[in-house]
């Protein structure tokens, strides 16, 4: 399990290729890449702030729980910090499992968490200035789908 917070841009394809490299026990890798939307050219940039030593640990704790819950073989989470421009990748999540369903569900769950509950503070810059953004109600609803859910079926059941 790896969590990386970085100000530098990243190439999602390169991350995915490296993540898939040399694995003989993995049957499926699901990856998600989130890009910054221009919102009809109103958004000039997003600015992401984290609390180093807190944000990365908190995300790591959730990623570890996802590994256990979904029986993953590995997880990679890369998140940008600082100023990010429309069209640039802001987040990358990859989940590797023996079978595809666990990888799909883990990537879905981790993104719901990252979009609504992860300890970031986000500012949107437009032509009129800048404002702090908070999650939309549907982001919280998406994340709540994974609260107190029954344990997943075993891999045997899922074939």
């Amino acid at each position: 399990m790896t969590v990386r917070l970085q100000t530098e841009p990243f190439a999602p394809g390169e991350l995915l290729a490296a993540f898939c490299q040399g694995r003989r026990d993995v049957g499926g890798v699901v990856s998600f890449t989130g890009l910054v939307r221009a919102e009809d050219e109103t958004v000039q940039a997003l600015e992401l702030e984290a609390y180093p030593g807190f944000t990365d640990l908190e995300i790591g704790r959730i990623a570890d729980a996802a590994v256990l819950r979904h029986g993953l073989i590995d997880v990679l989470i890369v998140h940008r910090l600082g100023r990010i421009l429309p069209g640039e990748a802001i987040v990358f999540v990859a989940a590797a499992a023996a079978h595809r369903r666990a990888a799909f569900e883990a990537a879905d769950q981790l993104m719901d968490y990252l979009k609504s509950r992860a300890p970031f503070w986000k500012k949107s810059h437009d032509a009129t200035g800048a404002r702090w953004i908070e999650p939309r109600p549907e982001d919280y609803q998406d994340a709540a789908r994974w609260d107190d859910a029954p344990a997943p079926l075993s891999l045997e059941d899922r074939r």
Binding site: G34, E49, L114, A118, F120, W121, K122, W132, E134
Partner: protein, 80 residues
Amino acid sequence: MRVLLFGRLRDVAGWRERTLTSPPLSVTALKAALARDHLALGEALDRPGVQAAVNKAIVRDDAALTADAEVAFLPPMSGG
């Protein structure tokens, strides 16, 4: 004691980090001290959803503080 502000709290206060030489004994006392110094920051710290972390762990406002603590005030988290 180091005090850190994040998100909109930093904008309200106009600073990100401050070292206090005579540290208050609890989070509540620290908030009161910051409010005396800066009324708008005091109001922002009292808004719903603002959490305090001591040495990178979320605590309640009655948590005791030590002179070497790192105290962070965290506005509602936005996700990425």
